[in-house]
């Protein structure tokens, strides 16, 4: 789509995923065997032919910069447009909100000839058709379009989601910030379509008044005089706000129908290419109902699990209902159940590591 800028807004990220987000931002968390969460939004943008994408990072963004590189894997190394990574400009100061960081990089918006901006967070696992959403936005002559979904996630213990009251004609009547939604309530997906000029005006006006929150100060405060419309998103979308919901949404992909629809029948999800060899199964391997990525060496037993790139599972090791991230090593005779091991974890031989209903996490590069 010509004339559209994609903005991936990491400024509002929370560290929902405990140890998994202790050294990386939420969008950089590995997902689904070979991806990082940000791959889904990146791939959705390129599918919609949005070829100018700006990633506003807040903190712990080394891994995301390493992952995105020049943007080549997402076809975003362009002479015109392409990938822009826009980190905080005053690292010593606390960031007061996303509008402040948009303001610090206002030159980016000024310089861009495009007239429309799509803003999305970087941690959504979904196939969102931005082309359709932008068309919906333009056809309805809205100033701003917000994307929402009927809440179907696990209950939240902290008020973290924003509820929208939507009129029959799709207009947003009210926004209730920081709530714990019930099943079926309309929850905002922090995804917006807005005219660039209006966005610039909101950024400037709000920051002059010491207001720094795009949703609260830019949209909610202007509901009465802007036409804020809505787009009802209905496809697969896991609400990831805890270890348990993160685990469950990974396991969703062991459902062949979802995997077929998500990975094969619709557009591709791109990620950083690692040039790993195909998976090697030995004579002793037993694998069932699992996703396995390249570079793995499987000699043991794997059941109902997600195995990331470059993992070694040695003879006699058993991995059940678990997620083993990149370059993990599960040694001889070890038994693992309901566990998430972060990157480069080594579980020595003859160990038993079992999580309960909430999976146990083994921190990055730990040796157990």
């Amino acid at each position: 789509m010509k004339n559209v800028i994609g903005v991936i807004n990491l400024v509002n990220e929370k560290q929902y995923l405990k140890e998994l987000t202790s050294h990386r931002c939420l969008s950089a968390v590995p997902f689904g065997g070979r991806y990082r969460l940000i791959d889904f939004t990146m791939s959705n943008f390129i599918h919609a032919d949005i070829t100018k994408v700006a990633v506003f990072t807040k903190e712990k963004y080394r891994s995301i910069m390493d992952h995105l590189g020049s943007g080549k894997e997402w076809d975003l190394d362009r002479r015109n447009g392409g990938l822009f990574i826009l980190p905080p400009t005053h690292p010593d100061e606390l960031i007061k909100g996303d509008l402040q960081q948009f303001h610090d990089h206002i030159e980016f918006f000024h310089r861009s000839p495009e007239d429309t901006v799509v803003i999305s967070p970087g941690h959504h696992v979904c196939k969102m058709d931005f082309q359709e959403i932008v068309e919906h936005h333009k056809n309805s002559n809205a100033d701003i379009t917000v994307v929402y979904k009927d809440f179907d996630g696990e209950p939240v213990d902290k008020p973290i989601y924003h509820k929208y009251a939507i009129r029959n004609d799709g207009r947003v009547k009210n926004i209730e910030l920081y709530t714990s939604p019930e099943q079926g309530e309309s929850v905002g997906l922090e995804t917006f379509v807005i005219k660039k000029d209006l966005l610039i005006e909101i950024i400037k006006t709000c920051c002059e008044n010491g207001e720094y929150d795009f949703l609260k100060d830019g949209i909610k405060a202007n509901l009465h005089h802007l036409k804020v419309n809505s787009y009802h998103y209905k496809r697969y979308f896991p609400f990831i706000h805890s270890i348990s919901s993160f685990y469950k949404s990974n396991m969703d992909f062991l459902n062949p129908e979802l995997a077929q629809d998500f990975f094969y029948d619709t557009w591709d999800i791109y990620t950083k290419i690692k040039h790993e060899a195909p998976v090697k199964y030995s004579i002793s391997s037993k694998v069932s109902n699992s996703l396995v990525a390249n570079g793995c060496d499987i000699e043991g037993t794997v059941e109902n699990s997600i195995i990331f790139r470059g993992v070694k599972i040695r003879k006699g090791a058993v991995v059940k209902n678990s997620i083993i991230m990149q370059k993990g090593e599960i040694n001889e005779g070890t038994y693992i159940e309901n566990v998430i091991t972060d990157k480069q974890v080594k579980i020595t031989s003859e160990q038993v590591v079992i999580g309960d209903s909430i999976p146990r996490i083994v921190k990055k590069a730990d040796v157990v």
Binding site: D268, S288, N289
Partner: protein
């Protein structure tokens, strides 16, 4: 002007007619290998790891797939401002142009390309071998020996020696005689199709050879014997390690089987010497509850519901329920239905095998069955050979 110490010329124009239907629509170096690669990935990755950053790829037969695949060389880290990879098809000049008439003629026609980089040495490689080789060690040897040309050789079993071009050498590995596929071999040192030349010397011989009306314009048949008979300093560099010519259906199948042992004859997964490949974005593979996989290589993008034993599955292969695949190679994008049996076979890319088909024979004496036509048909084995149902 900038110049390069050395560059490589990769001969990739061959048809590979002994690979049958696998090379109907593409050149031999573009034939898929090892579940995710094409044959050309091996010499290209070897160049990258050896520190060669300029590679001319000489194409002629069915170059479309190869041209597209090599592209700007990025997967092999060969997208460079000065150097990098260049695809070199035959071209027309002021005095007309002609097809490459032989391996030596192909390089001769690109003297201008090589001179542009003004290299001291030129490595000539072929695009039909699977191996892992550090060419920089060969260069070091070439320099130490004070050689003008060096040929990489590998010891082959005496029983097979007569299939190869053989080098007879003295104790210093200086080559005294070269024999192309002799009936009675005097040596078991086979040429690997990897040559290293002082560029000045090679250029002179290429120009001379071009003027010789009796020459077949081939490195093995013409250039090397001429250099030898002129008494130039020609050495054999002994390579130790895995090297396999995959020019026939049989040898291509064997090379795949060599990947599968617990300690494989050839290890694709060496973290210090990765083989790079293009088109590498596919979802993780899904192995279902019904599946059994043992001693196999399975690439990303596969969905497996059946039994896979001692086989290679390339990317985006789907295997249905109650299907058994044994001792076979399944190339990319193949769909295999339910209740299928496949033994000792190679299934070419994009084939659709229908439910209940039987392909190949499990008899150890059976030839390798090649299903090479991209058509939606089912096969039944009859005496180890397949026919359309």
């Amino acid at each position: 002007m900038k110049s390069k110490k050395w560059i490589a010329m990769l001969l990739a124009g061959g048809q590979g007619s002994r690979l049958g239907e696998l090379t109907t629509g593409l050149a031999k170096p573009a034939v898929p290998f090892g579940g995710k690669y094409r044959i050309i990935d091996f010499p290209l990755s070897n160049c990258t790891h050896s520190g060669i950053d300029t590679v001319g790829v000489l194409t002629q037969y069915q170059p479309l797939v190869l041209n597209h695949y090599v592209g700007n060389g990025r997967p092999w880290d060969l997208d460079r401002n000065f150097g990098g990879v260049s695809v070199l098809p035959p071209y027309q000049g002021k005095d007309g142009g002609e097809w490459y008439a032989g391996t030596a003629n192909a390089v001769y026609q690109n003297i201008q390309y090589i001179d542009h980089y003004d290299p001291e040495y030129v490595v000539v490689l072929s695009g039909d071998h699977i191996y892992k080789m550090d060419y920089s060690k060969m260069l070091q040897y070439h320099v130490e020996k004070g050689a003008q040309a060096t040929i990489a050789v590998i010891e082959v079993p005496w029983s097979e020696a007569s299939r190869f071009g053989l080098m007879n050498t003295d104790e210093e590995n200086k080559i005294s005689e070269f024999e192309e596929k002799p009936a009675k071999p005097k040596s078991n040192l086979a040429s690997m199709g990897v040559y290293l030349f002082d560029w000045k010397l090679l250029k002179k011989y290429l120009i001379e050879d071009e003027l010789d009306p009796f020459s077949t314009k081939d490195f093995g048949k013409d250039i090397i014997p001429k250099i030898l008979s002129d008494g130039k300093s020609l050495y054999a560099y002994r390579f130790e390690g895995y090297w396999k010519d995959v020019g026939t259906v049989e040898s291509l199948w064997e090379a795949h089987m060599d990947l599968l042992d617990d300690i494989p004859g050839f290890d694709l997964n060496d973290p210090h010497w990765k083989f790079y490949a293009g088109n590498a974005n596919h979802p993780p593979q899904y192995i279902s509850k019904e599946a059994h996989i043992s001693q196999s290589l399975v690439n990303e993008g596969c969905v497996v519901h059946g039994n896979i034993e001692h086989s290679v599955l390339s990317f985006n292969v789907q295997v249905g329920k109650n299907t058994t695949i044994k001792d076979s190679v399944i190339m990319p994008n193949v769909k295999i239905g339910n209740n299928v049996t496949i033994n000792n076979a190679i299934i070419a890319s994009d084939i659709c095998v229908e439910d209940g088909a039987e392909i190949g024979s499990s008899s150890p004496a059976a030839e390798i069955t090649l299903i090479g036509d991209a058509q939606n048909i089912s096969y039944v084995a009859t005496n180890g050979k397949s026919s359309v149902k």
